[in-house]
Symmetry: C2
Subunit: 107 residues, 2 copies
């Protein structure tokens, strides 16, 4: 798969609010598919699993099996690549400063 | 506009390959709309301007007028927010290490 195809999968996966919410749930710790289905119980199980598959296919979620459980882990590398693509290493300090300035002005 | 509406605009704007390419062009320096239309001359001017408007509306591009020219600047803050949403400050070092490890293994 080419880099641009991979990127397309990543940005399409991120374009759905529910899939972003799933990644939010995984930020602090991996979760089993069962736990995620319970967390998003307003949706049926199949829908949640479909969204998980899109995230896995985009490499934003990495699945590890343990016995009968599927543990879903957030993969931070594609997120880091988005950052590095448009904010070069040299600009990190400037952007952090800008961000602090914006927060100070807003508060 | 709520944060989730803003986010929706940002991720929808990033979902189109051409809009990502426009941001790539703006990474190193701002560009006039005229220069961008020339850079993407395989498309007609209106199409490029439409994509620029989507990026501006998502706050990924900031426009400054100088005389008759429109200068398009990449706004790095929404990109930084994507990073910070899923990679907390505490995890930056670990993710950098993981990224280096992956590169070493691939090379």
């Amino acid at each position: 798969m080419s880099t641009s195809e991979k990127n397309d999968k990543i940005f399409k996966a991120l374009a759905a609010p529910l899939r972003r919410s799933i990644l939010d749930e995984l930020k602090d710790s991996p979760q089993t598919t069962g736990a995620l289905c319970e967390r998003f119980s307003q949706l049926d199980r199949c829908t949640v699993m479909q969204h998980l598959r899109v995230l896995e296919d985009a490499d934003l979620v990495i699945v590890r099996r343990a016995g009968r459980e599927r543990w879903n882990h957030l993969n931070p590398l594609p997120i880091k690549e988005i950052h590095d693509r448009w904010i070069g290493a040299y600009a990190v300090q400037a952007v952090n400063m800008l961000d602090r300035l914006k927060r100070d002005l807003e508060s």
